[in-house]
Subunit: 427 residues, 2 copies
């Protein structure tokens, strides 16, 4: 094992608590022989034989008796280098590191395939939900056409608290940090970067497509305010941090952004730090998986599942015929074009804060009409004291570029008091 | 393939539509070489080479070139006999037949283990939800302590329609039959027998316990009326057809019955013919899986997933080291005692229809008090014209035997006009 933080300690506990059952499952024994840590003298909650702790990763990578490396250290370049060495020397790898798989996955997986070694990373996406295994093995009879996920627990926690406790963004974020959901630097959670990594991995498996995270349009949740939550609810929607993938006209529509979903939809009920993945196949109707997305134990359970798979293969002598991580060899992944944002048609939510002047509402309506964006519902409220009006509207399905052009026009309107807020609606 | 109804035809379509991807996944080809049907001349929707149809099952079982038998015929004794012969002659088996696994599983699985053959039955429980694979492989790092399922789509459809359209039981059942959810003889759906079979299979996997379906207390949904739906909703609950399994004091609490669940609970949002499985582990928080529970394609997708697993093992030369169907060898399943119903403590819903006489409410309250059942909420409504009062109450947690004794006393009360309705509340 490389790294021995909360997940590593959770894993050790799972393995030690259930030794007997594990042997019944495997017909053999898993033994943790070395754990590489930065500081071997540091006090840890888990009781561990100090003899197996080392501060030298080489002791693991150069030990030919070690068959599986479990990477739980985090980072990108360093772990990628360790994984490369481990694979070169014939070791299998289990990791919880989504960044390394999203960004260096191609190279590492090619190497794993060349060396006929396992490289498994169930814990990298949606913690305790075994969604990668489900996509890789269980649903392979069908062709997935749509995938909606809430895959970042921190953003879902923040938006849920903004909705349920009427908090503003900042206090909701601080609450998430106090509860241990958000990192000290939560920027990757909030700006959608983490969800983008996870969507890239999910989409490779679901669509058998070769996807770069950098090609996925990604929007953070910090544009959402408590007022938008309230207005959305008035219209029958809640705002959720979504990762979306869909096949459309031979292309892929991949996006990460907050969106309005109907209050009675599947994902609307996913609260707090919970993660969920919603799938539709060509033949299979909606399937949904939900559960804890992060935390020591959910992550450790997923790592253990992978570890057992590798161990079973080793014990049955078939570990040189590992299933490729994406279910098909890397070269079978197709380069599917990303659907251009302008071709995307979806209904929108738009909130404008304007001076309460006669004629502004008419200007808004005509700007939208000029771009052939038709309005489904519109609501204007006025704050008489401040002389400010808020116009909130939902559009019918409209092209993203058309709505964008109308909003860009409106954002130059002299009566505008705040930047317009534009959110997508996903039904 | 034995049997070529809607599932078989769906499977054939999945396999033929996705030949190229299948080969990329398997590194080899799956070929359907024989399909045994009752009547080879019958017209079928799927286009199929008539040369592969046969009315002789022996042609499949005696053909040494056939490696996998897919049993989709239904029944118990006949398919059990075919499976025995197939395993004896070294073939692997994939089936969607829950009855044969629930009732003859022990013998067949023992044989499969002895012969080192696969016997897979993902499609037998919860259609398109790969819950067996998840329990067998993905969540093995944790110890499952609780499992709540909606595993019979017909009963969930009926109860959902009773709640949403205020239908009585009979019209809701007829609607389910018209929509093709319920069988012409829907008794196994309605009396809980089908859910009991599925719970037995799920519980073997989740709790590694040796479970006989006949030992699972099972109650049908036909005791629920539209009035109960309304009263439940007034109290903040909906009524769902549940299959429940839990570890408790070294025993297992297994039950199939309709129950009240809070309107904001996970299972309350599972409507219509959808199935769902809710799990809690010792370390893992709630995980939930939902999707279509039956139908040609969901079932065919699960059969295909199993088929691919066997095919991968054959192609990698490791099919003589099949994972046992329950994840551990049959002999490792433990005989865990079923928690006696009398030890079960749960809150209850009780509805009494009585003559509107002074003193009846007091009699009800004192009967419950005598058996130390304490009331949480009570509601009495009176129909003046008929001179009938309805008393509905929720109890605090109470022993099943205590509530049973109180209700049995009350059912002999002279003012009683209908049999009392007693339902469990699951929070």
């Amino acid at each position: 094992m490389i790294g021995f933080g909360v997940v590593g300690q959770g894993l050790m506990r799972l393995l030690s608590e259930r030794g007997e059952e594990m042997e019944a499952r495997l017909g053999g024994k898993l033994e943790i022989v070395k754990i590489a840590v930065r500081d071997t003298s540091r006090k840890r909650e888990a009781s561990v034989d100090p003899g197996i702790l080392t501060d030298s990763i080489d002791e693991i990578l150069d030990d030919p008796s070690i068959q599986i490396v479990v990477e739980l250290a985090g980072g990108v370049d360093e772990p990628a280098a360790w994984m490369r060495r481990a694979l070169e020397s014939g070791k299998h790898i289990v990791t919880a590191n989504k960044a390394v798989i999203a960004e260096k996955g191609e190279e590492l997986i090619a190497l794993a395939e060349e060396k006929h070694r396992f490289l498994l990373f169930e814990a990298a996406v949606a913690g305790g939900i075994p969604i990668l295994r489900v996509l890789r093995e269980a649903l392979t009879g069908d062709r997935i056409v749509r995938l909606h996920g809430i895959v970042n627990g921190t953003s879902n926690y923040i938006l849920s608290r903004m909705a349920s406790a009427n908090l503003a963004f900042e206090p909701a974020l601080r609450e998430a940090q106090l509860k241990g959901f958000a990192e000290a630097d939560p920027s990757l959670d909030i700006n959608g970067g983490d969800a983008c990594h996870k969507l890239a991995i999910l989409a490779r498996l679901a669509f058998l497509a070769d996807i770069e995270p950098s090609a996925i349009p990604t929007q953070g949740i910090d544009i959402v305010s408590a007022r938008d939550m309230e207005f959305a609810l008035d219209f029958g929607y809640v705002i959720k941090p979504l990762a979306i993938g869909a096949r459309l006209n031979g292309a892929l529509d991949l996006r990460v952004h907050p969106a309005l979903v109907p209050v009675d939809s599947h994902l609307a009920h996913i609260h707090g730090a919970t993660n969920a993945i919603y799938l539709e196949g060509e033949h299979l109707g909606p399937v949904m998986f939900s559960g804890e997305g992060a935390g020591a134990y959910p992550t450790a359970v997923s790592v253990a599942g992978d570890l057992f798979e590798v161990a079973r293969a080793i014990l049955s002598g078939s570990d040189d015929r590992a299933t490729p991580p994406y279910g098909v060899p890397l070269r079978a992944l197709k380069k599917l074009p990303q659907l251009p944002a302008e071709e995307l048609k979806t209904p929108f939510y738009l909130r404008l804060t304007v001076e309460d002047d006669a004629g502004v509402l008419a200007d808004v309506a005509s700007a939208l009409a000029r771009h052939r964006v038709s309005i489904e519902t519109i609501l204007q409220t006025v704050d008489d004291e401040e002389g400010i009006a808020t116009i909130v509207l939902l559009t019918h399905e409209a092209f993203e570029h058309a709505v964008g052009a109308a909003v860009s026009e409106l954002s130059r309107h002299s009566a505008l008091r705040e930047q317009p807020v534009l959110l997508r609606i996903v039904r």
